[in-house]
Assembly symmetry: C2
Amino acid sequence: MLGRMQDWPLTVDKILDHANTWHGAREIVTRSVEGPIVRSAYGQLHARAKQVTSALRDWGVEPGDRVATLAWNTARHMEVWYGAMGMGAVCHTLNPRLFPAQLVYIINHAGDRILFADLTFVPLLKAVLPRCPTVERVVLLSDADTVAGAGLDGALAYEALLQQARGPSHWGGFDERTACALCYTSGTTGDPKGVLYSHRSNFLHTLMGLQSTVLGADPSAVILPIVPMFHANAWGIAFAAPAAGAKLVMPGARMDGAAIHELIETEGVTFSGAVPTVWQGLLTHLRDNNLGLSTLKRVVIGGSAVPESLIRAFHDEFGVEVVQGWGMTETSPIGTLSNARPEISALSFDEQIKWRAKQGTPPLGVELTVKDAAGAVQPADGRSQGRLMVRGPGVAAGYFGQAGDVLDPDGYFDTGDIATIDPQGFLQITDRAKDVIKSGGEWISSVEIESIAAGHPDAELTAVVGVPHPRWDERPLLIVKLRPGAEPDAGSHLAFLAGKIARWWMPDAVRFVDDIPLGPTGKVDKKRLREDLLEITA
Amino acid sequence: MLGRMQDWPLTVDKILDHANTWHGAREIVTRSVEGPIVRSAYGQLHARAKQVTSALRDWGVEPGDRVATLAWNTARHMEVWYGAMGMGAVCHTLNPRLFPAQLVYIINHAGDRILFADLTFVPLLKAVLPRCPTVERVVLLSDADTVAGAGLDGALAYEALLQQARGPSHWGGFDERTACALCYTSGTTGDPKGVLYSHRSNFLHTLMGLQSTVLGADPSAVILPIVPMFHANAWGIAFAAPAAGAKLVMPGARMDGAAIHELIETEGVTFSGAVPTVWQGLLTHLRDNNLGLSTLKRVVIGGSAVPESLIRAFHDEFGVEVVQGWGMTETSPIGTLSNARPEISALSFDEQIKWRAKQGTPPLGVELTVKDAAGAVQPADGRSQGRLMVRGPGVAAGYFGQAGDVLDPDGYFDTGDIATIDPQGFLQITDRAKDVIKSGGEWISSVEIESIAAGHPDAELTAVVGVPHPRWDERPLLIVKLRPGAEPDAGSHLAFLAGKIARWWMPDAVRFVDDIPLGPTGKVDKKRLREDLLEITA
C-alpha cells in the first residue's frame, strides 16, 4: 500500500523559487572578477537565471545537454549554474587549476556545448578551445565592452546575452532523477571521472546540509564560500544558502589572506568553508598585521586533513570554532563533520582536540562503514583500519559515460580512503588507500604523521611517503618544505614527532625540499612526489 | 538523461538505524505511565523495535496492515511506532481525547488489526473494543503482572511479548512511497479523515525539521515533546530527535505545569513543543510557585494561535524564546515558523512582537500561497486575505480509503485556513474558513480578536463567533471564561480591545460562560460553541 502524499519532485529549481519567494531581498555580495564589490539579491538571481534558460533554449540547448562553467565564485556563476540546471541541462563545473590537457580531455568527454567563463581564463581558453570541437559557444561573464577588449575571438558577452534574452523561461517540471550537474574528480590515478549528480541528490544533499550540525544556515547567517563551486559544489553552499535565505558573500578570484579578511570584516561574515591552505594564508595575514575576526563564529575546513595547530590557533587566538569535514566529489560532498558532542564539549579544549582533529560523524543520509580487504566490517574501536565505504542518496553509483555501477555487493561506494571509527563514532581518515605505508605487514598512516609534523615551527608544508625497504617492505620518509629563513635540521623534526606517534611509525629519514607539488584541489600530489623522489634517487 | 547517483530509498527504518549506529547511547527518559522515571537509549529502542517486528510477523501482520496505538509519549510508544513502520506496516496513532463513538468509527475505518495501548485507557478500551471487530489483539504497554491486574480480558502484556519474540526481525527494504503512518484529523466537520503518510514524506519531513530554524536538533539538545505522538506526529520530533542524536524526554501521561517543570529542570531540557494551553498551565505554575527555567532556551508553540501575552511572558520573565508554528495533520505537520529574521531581530522586542505573533515563514519543502475564492493568488501585502493553499512532499494529496485527490488544478491542498502574507513573507492565519465572520461583505478575523482579548487580566479563555445580523449578515460576539474570582464586566473587556482592532471589528456584545468547549486537540470547538449558543437563544 502506498501513502497518499503529494508527488512533489525534488528538483533544484524549487530551491531558487523558494529563495525568491521568501528571501528575495537577501543579498549576494560578490568581489567581481573585474574588481569592484557588486551587490545582487536572490530575487535578481532568480530572474537572471531564468533569462539564462531563455538564451540556452534559443541556441537549441536541450535537457540533458552539458553547459560548462570555468568560473570563480560569483553571483553570475550562480546565475548560470541555476539557469542550466533549472531548464534540465547539466551544469558542468570545470576546475581551472587542471592542466590544459586534462581540461581538454574533460570537455571532450563531457561533450560540453556551451562554455561560460571568467575573464581570468582567456589565456587558458586560448590553449584549450582549439582542441574542443563540441563547444559551440563561449560566453565571457562580463559586459559587452569588457568582453570586446578581452581578446578572445568569437566570445559572447554575458550581460549583452541577458539583455537580448526574449523567449519564455524554461523552468523545472522534470523527473527528480534527471541529471543536474557534472563534476570530474581530479584524477590523480587514471583519467578523470565525471560524477553526474541528479536533481534528487542535490536537493537531498541541500536538506542534509541545512542541519545545524552541518552548514546550519539561517537568514541571520552571512556565508562566505571560499571553497569553489568547481570543487565538489562549494560543499553545497550554493544550494544551502538560498534555501535558508542566508546572505552570501562570494570571493571571486581573490582568496589571499588580505582579501578574505577584508570581506569577512566589511560584510559581517559568520560562517565560511575552505581547504586548510586558505586558512593558513588567512592566519599568517592576521598574525602579521595584528588583526582580529569580529563576526566569524564557525568555519568548516575540509579537502585534506586539518593540522591540530590550525584548530588551536583559530580557537585560542580568534575565538572561531573549527569544524573539520570529510567528503569527496562522489559524496556531493558531505560525509562527516567533527562537531563536538555534549560528552566531548564537557571536556577541556586540550582534551577535546583529540576528537576535533578527527573527521567526525555523519549526518542523517550518509551511511558509513569500514571494511577490511575481505569485505568484513571492522569494529568501531578507534584502532581497526579498513577501507571507508559509503552509501546514501547523495553518493555516486557510477560515472558519466561509463556503463554499470561501481558499488560493492552491499551497495557501498569505496572511497579509496583508509579509516578508523572510534567508540564515540568519530571517523578518522588515516590515509588514502594508495598512500598508506605497508611496513612489516602493518599499516602506517602517512596522513597522521604529516599532520603532526606540520606543527613544527620551521615547517611550512609536510608530506610523508613510503619508500621501498628490503626487510620491512616500506618505511616512511618525511618530506619538509621549510618556512623562509629556517635551517634544515632533521633531528629537530624527528624529535618533534617522538612520543606523539608509535615508535615503529617514526620516519627513517627527513628530506628537505624547495617545494611540494600540489594537485588541482590543493592537496599534496603524492603521485608526483613519489615520481620526483624516484628521479632524484635514479 | 538521469543522474548516476545511488538509489537509496527514503524509509524511516534508516532513521533509527542511524540513531543506533551513531547515537546508540543517547538517552530517552520517560515518565512512565506506571509512575517512575525510566531510562532507555536509542540502541535499546532499535533492538526493541526490531523485536516488535518479530512479534507482529508471528501474528501474521503483513506490510500495509494497520497497527494502532492508543498511548502517551513514552519510549515504549516509540518502540511500537518504529516497529510497525520498520516492517512496512502502518502505525495508526489514535487520539484518546476523541469521543468513544469517534474512536470506533476510526478504528473500523482503518481496519486496525493490532492495538497497543497504555494502562490509562483500559476504561476507554472497554467502551470501544466490543464495537471494533477488526482488532484481533490488544497489547497493554506494561509488564505481565501489571497487565494481569489491569482488568482487560484477553489483553497481552508488552514486556512478555518482547521477551517471547523469537523470529527474525523484518526491517526496511521497501519502496519509499510505501504507506508508513496514519493519523485521522479531528473532524470538526463531517467524519474524521485519515492522512496516510509515506516513508518518503516522513523522511523528507524529518530532514526539513532538522533545520536550525525549525526544530534545530543536535546531539547537545535535550528535547521534550509535550505535543503527543497522536497529534500530528508530535510535530516530527519522534523522528527528528533520533535522527540528530538529541536526548529525548518523554512526559508520559502527565502534562500539568508541575510535572513539566520538574522534567525540564531535572533532565536539562533545552527545547520543547506544545499547544498554548500547556504553556499557559506551566506559566501559572511557575508564577504561583516563584520558579524559573534554567536550561530551556526555545519552545515551539502551535496547534492554535499563540496569545501575544504568552510570548511576552516567556521572553520577559523566563528568557525563553517562543517560536510560533503553523501546520496541520495534512502537512505532516510543519508549515511555517515565526523565526525572527535579521531585519526583525534588529528591532526592539516590542517592535518584534508584531512578527513573533504571526505564524511566520515556511522552510524549504513547503510551498504556500493565498488564493481568493476564484483561485487568484493574493498579493503579499499583509492585508489581502484568502484561502491558504499548500504544496510539498510532506503534504497530503488525498485521504486513506477515499478515491482520488483533493488538490486544486495547480496541485495545492486547501488548508481551510484564511490567511494573509506580509511584505516580509510572514504568514498570518486570520481564521478558519468556516469560522471567519462575514460582516457587510468584508471578513472579520475571529482568531485575531480572541487572541487580543485573551490578554485581559480577567480572561482565562476567550472565543469569538459570528452571530446572524439582519443588516450586516454577521457580527462578532465575544465569549469569555473568567479567571476564578473575577467579576463579569463587559465594558472592561470591550475597552481592552478598543484601539487594537478596527472599529467595525468590535464585538457587539460580550457573553460570560462557565466553560468553553475544547476539541480533542485542545482547540476551541466553535461548532459546539455555536450549537450551545443556539440552544441558549432558542
